[in-house]
Symmetry: C2
Subunit: 249 residues, 2 copies
DNA sequence: TTCTGACCTTGATCGAGATCAATCAAACGG
DNA sequence: CCGTTTGATTGATCTCGATCAAGGTCAGAA
């Protein structure tokens, strides 16, 4: 199945996909790649559609090709906390695990390049480099989750918003290979509600703090979803720390 | 070096250590075990001593044998968030990573069974089962971290305290093989300050909420560190969710 | 024995963010 | 074209947990 132009940067593998699979491409050797190609298929999910239900059997295993998916946990009374965000090239599902510990929901229309689970798992256990790659990715996610714990436990609402903006800007820049600097423009891929679920705030607080950052000139709101950052360092400063802002994927 | 009696439950390997190494024992085969034994050494750290500094080279790689260590991140202005707790049998350090993303600090006197880093890493890359084991452990930690994100972002102070008590009770029970039920007694291995760092609260709020739980009869405080739980289900109920309460290790 | 310092508890007050409520703007289907 | 829906903003008020402040308890040192 052909569907989109190739944007791969460091290699020309997985030519069908417009993204580099974080999980596999970097380590694919030609024989493995052929096997991966043979088990690939594509599926799209509508905005709001649940891709994987918490507690249920995991069936999806693959990479996000386009769109944004979220990972979230919910308390019995409905309080919800997002625990991860999946952007293009991020891996969905966990080889070797039977059930998912949280919901995976499409934030907008999401296309996933999916592998056949038993085949992929067999490939993983026969390919030490691939297993190693999965370990590295998981360690990255763990670091990002812990970074986010600092945000949830100790940052103010304003710092939380600024941190999220920095993180989204970084990820968008990484995706399309642009650099970050003054005058930076980007699109928020999340609604105010999704942002509030991510930051442990309410919609109203998110809206108010975005307005406040706008009022102080740290950001320019072209419309609710389009943000411009006249002075990138000022935004970083609002985020409260100088870390590289790990991102939950 | 001999130092403590063997308490291993499912196997009799790593006989020197009074704990089962979560990271390696479950997968050690005799030839690997011999190599591990050859690279083992023990080291103790005083309460409050920093075992690994955030950002610095990781030198320690091993398992906690006794005591409690904490993982924490700090904002430039001093706000601190604990992001993990290491109890006996938990693994310290990350093979394949050069620097630590957070401080590892001894909460009380901690003994660590330490491996020589390059040797251990070499063993890992030659032993797929060991690598697999590390991936599984990391996935567990990731799940626990995300569970904790739900707590930090969405639970009330009272729910946070109850959740922490449940988690500590579970881990203590798992360690010494006892079962959990009504009349359960356990020791808090953390000061109020460490609890507040873990829960994203202040010391005063921790103290007040513990008093409140005591006043409502959910727990009995024998002294500041010794807790008895007359009705375990009531405590679970206070924690706000029925999940298995992942724990950051 | 008293002194000292670490740790914990409790009270009074404050304030950031939640909650409740109204309004607005853009998209969409009739 | 207008009515409805969905998402965002803004205002008024309330509340939970932070902050400021005072004591209490206990182990170890003098």
């Amino acid at each position: 199945m052909k569907h989109a132009p190739l944007i791969a940067q460091n290699h020309t593998r997985c030519a069908d996909c417009p993204i580099r699979h974080k999980a596999v491409c970097a380590y694919c050797e030609p024989p493995e790649l052929a096997k991966l190609d043979a088990m690939k298929s594509y599926r799209t999910y509508q905005a709001g559609e649940t891709i994987v239900w918490a507690g249920e059997e995991i069936e999806v295993l693959g990479s996000v090709v386009s769109g944004v998916a979220t990972l979230s946990r919910t308390l019995p009374d409905g309080r919800r906390q997002m625990v991860g965000l999946l952007l293009p090239s991020d891996f969905v599902g966990r080889p070797g695990r039977r059930t998912a510990p949280y919901d995976v929901v499409a934030a907008n229309e999401v296309m996933i390049c999916q592998f056949i689970k038993p085949q992929f798992e067999k490939l993983v256990s026969n390919t030490p480099a691939l297993e190693r790659r999965l370990l590295d990715m998981t360690l990255d996610e763990l670091d990002a989750a812990r970074e986010w714990m600092l945000l949830l436990g100790r940052k103010t609402a304003r710092e939380k918003i600024a941190s999220l903006l920095v993180i989204i800007a970084r990820r968008e820049a990484a995706l399309n290979g642009t650099t970050i600097g003054d005058g930076l423009r980007f699109v928020l891929p999340l609604t105010r509600e999704a942002m509030s679920d991510y930051l442990g705030l309410t919609i109203e607080t998110v809206s108010r703090q975005i307005s406040a950052l706008k009022k102080s000139g740290v950001i320019v709101l072209e419309d609710a979803r389009h943000i411009r950052v006249p002075d990138y360092v000022a935004l970083l400063d609002e985020a409260g720390d100088d870390s590289d802002g790990g991102f939950i994927s």
